[in-house]
Symmetry: C2
Subunit: 82 residues, 2 copies
């Protein structure tokens, strides 16, 4: 079993209006030292060992389901095999 | 300036129906080796140096705005000062 963490974020060239809105809220709470907030998705995935390498499985799932590759980019970390 | 990454996830005791739904979709795509998916939020935050320690700023923002501390838990990493 592998513990995989996947982070999906907007590409830098894509505006993040939700992050801008949260930044506004943070400033109104008095935290003027916050310069930028960008919001992404975070997935914790447990993968059983199979014939396919875990990297292949994760990349296919990200490309097909978890990330919109037109606007988003992803990275992942594969934890130690348990 | 600090680069801070914040991860907000449901507490383990809280069901994650969105994660369950995505797991079902992944299985229908043929990835039966996926045992569990839990979905969280991910924030990339740029914090300017101020009189308050960056840890205090981040924890207050998480408690007040980014996480619902009844159902969610958070952790953060503070990147090197730039």
């Amino acid at each position: 079993m592998f513990d995989v963490k996947v982070y999906v974020t907007y590409k830098d060239s894509v505006l993040d209006p939700q992050g801008e809105a949260v930044k506004g809220a943070v400033h109104r709470l008095g935290f003027s030292e916050i310069d930028e907030i960008r919001i992404g998705k975070y997935f914790e995935i447990k993968v059983r060992k199979s014939a396919r390498p875990v990297e292949t499985v994760i990349e296919e799932i990200c490309d097909k389901l978890l990330a919109n590759v037109n606007m988003e980019t992803y990275r992942y970390e594969i934890g130690e095999e348990v």
